[in-house]
């Protein structure tokens, strides 16, 4: 039986640091950065305006910066396919590999709270790739149009980050579940990739309210809600948005809670 986490000396911060150093070693980190740059750097934007009077330069910069942020938001939904491979590899490397090689048995023999241990994995595997992705996106924003970067509306950038976090949260929940139950790195990687790609493809063929439960249609509706309000009013209903929030936030949260309970109470190495 796992010990009560409140009595264990294993601090969450130490576990996070350990997980960080174990998972994000040099080749893994370099590959993730290279892949994310490959996705984000070609982001293009070519806007034009036809005003009757010459507006001030600041007005133009604000207007173009807002459109540039919308253009960058497309990268979030298009990054889904690459994110699937990144998260599946990370989850299977972090969880299934530890189980198949017996590291998990050794680790859990130490006085470490299982809840803290599992939470440290979730926090590291969720926030580090998300942080890399957002840094790359902001780097591209500054690299491609440095004059517009400082005029990008902070609320839109923050919203884009939140939607990105929601999408990565969904991918992580599925990948972590596959790794936890399959316990074999290659098989769990393949299972995560196949499941997530199948979900993505199914989302295109389902009927209207249900297809927004899954990415990437769920991600698109969240983006359109903020960046293209006229399109949102024309194409979607508020029920579609709620369906998207349910599928992209509540379902993965429930999956992770179930996994946490399973890991804490039932999991045997």
């Amino acid at each position: 039986m796992p010990e009560n986490s409140s009595k264990t000396p294993g601090r969450l911060s130490s576990l996070i640091r350990w997980e960080l150093e174990k998972t994000f070693t040099f080749p893994t980190l370099a590959i993730i950065i290279a892949v994310v740059l490959y996705i984000t750097v070609p982001a293009s934007f070519g806007g034009s305006r036809g005003p009757s009077q010459m507006p001030s330069l600041v007005e133009m910069e604000r207007s173009f910066a807002s459109s540039w942020t919308s253009a960058l938001s497309h990268n979030v939904s298009t990054s889904f396919m690459y994110s699937v491979f990144i998260f599946a590899a990370l989850a299977s490397n972090s969880l299934s590999r530890d189980m198949s090689r017996g590291y998990m048995r050794v680790l859990l023999s130490y006085p470490i709270g299982r809840t803290k241990f599992f939470l440290s994995k979730i926090l590291v595997l969720l926030f580090v790739p998300f942080f890399i992705f957002m840094c790359c996106l902001l780097f591209v924003a500054a690299l491609v149009f440095p004059g517009l970067f400082l005029h990008m509306p902070p609320s839109s950038v923050a919203y884009m980050m939140v939607v990105m976090l929601v999408q990565t949260f969904f991918i992580l929940a599925i990948s972590l579940s596959a790794s936890l139950y399959i316990k074999q790195p290659v098989m769990s990687f393949l299972a995560s990739v196949v499941t997530l790609i199948a979900m993505d493809q199914i989302s295109f063929y389902l009927s209207a309210p249900y297809k927004y439960l899954l990415p990437t249609m769920g991600t698109r509706i969240l983006m359109d809600y903020h960046f293209y309000p006229s399109r949102f009013e024309f194409q979607y209903t508020s029920g579609d948005l709620l369906m998207s929030l349910f599928g992209m936030v509540i379902v993965p949260a429930v999956i992770l809670i179930v996994n946490l309970v399973y890991f804490k109470r039932r999991f045997q190495t």
Partner: protein
């Protein structure tokens, strides 16, 4: 610390290579064409504000009827500021009293440019405009080059055999 500097150097090289190959070179083989059609009333003008990167731009403007005469002014950010604040026209490139044009322009920076097309004739001019972007993004290549040099320096310099300081002996 030494190993961390070397690893950051490697990451800088990876970033430089990825940025150069996914942006500066790839776009060279993808000429982007933007077309538009619009009308300008007699003795009037049209303003078009665009955003360009540093790829070479070819602008083709056809006017009909052929008897129409137009003047084309291309304004950079400084020109836009001058026109808005002081109502002074200082174009980066201009062609006056022509019946169409086909010119190539190398933007000096990434950012906002404005086109002013004046219809000098007493009849409505129908404008057909094409803007074709092609070439390398030299500023990205320069940036990647600098980043790669920094990366190489960071990955090589810590490997040099530095002479150790002799221990001071206190007698």
């Amino acid at each position: 610390m030494r190993n961390k500097v070397i690893k950051v150097g490697y990451l800088a090289i990876i970033v430089a290579v990825m940025v150069a190959f996914t942006r500066a070179f790839v776009t060279d083989s993808q000429p982007a064409t933007v077309g538009s059609h619009f009308e300008i009333p007699p003795n009037s003008q049209s303003i078009e504000i665009t955003i360009w990167n540093t790829r070479t731009v070819r602008v083709i403007i056809d006017v009909s009827p052929a008897t129409s005469r137009i003047s084309v002014y291309l304004l950079d950010e400084e020109g836009i500021k001058l026109l808005h604040d002081e109502e002074r026209l200082q174009p980066a490139f201009s062609l006056e009293d022509v019946d169409g044009c086909d010119f190539t322009y190398q933007p000096t920076y990434r950012g906002i440019y404005a086109f002013i097309i004046q219809n000098n004739s007493n009849q409505t001019a129908k404008i057909s405009q094409r803007v074709i972007h092609q070439g390398l993004e030299w500023d990205i290549l320069q940036f990647s080059g600098v980043l790669a040099i920094i990366g190489v320096a960071m990955s090589l310099l810590p490997r040099l055999p530095y002479p150790k300081k002799p221990k001071s002996s206190h007698t």
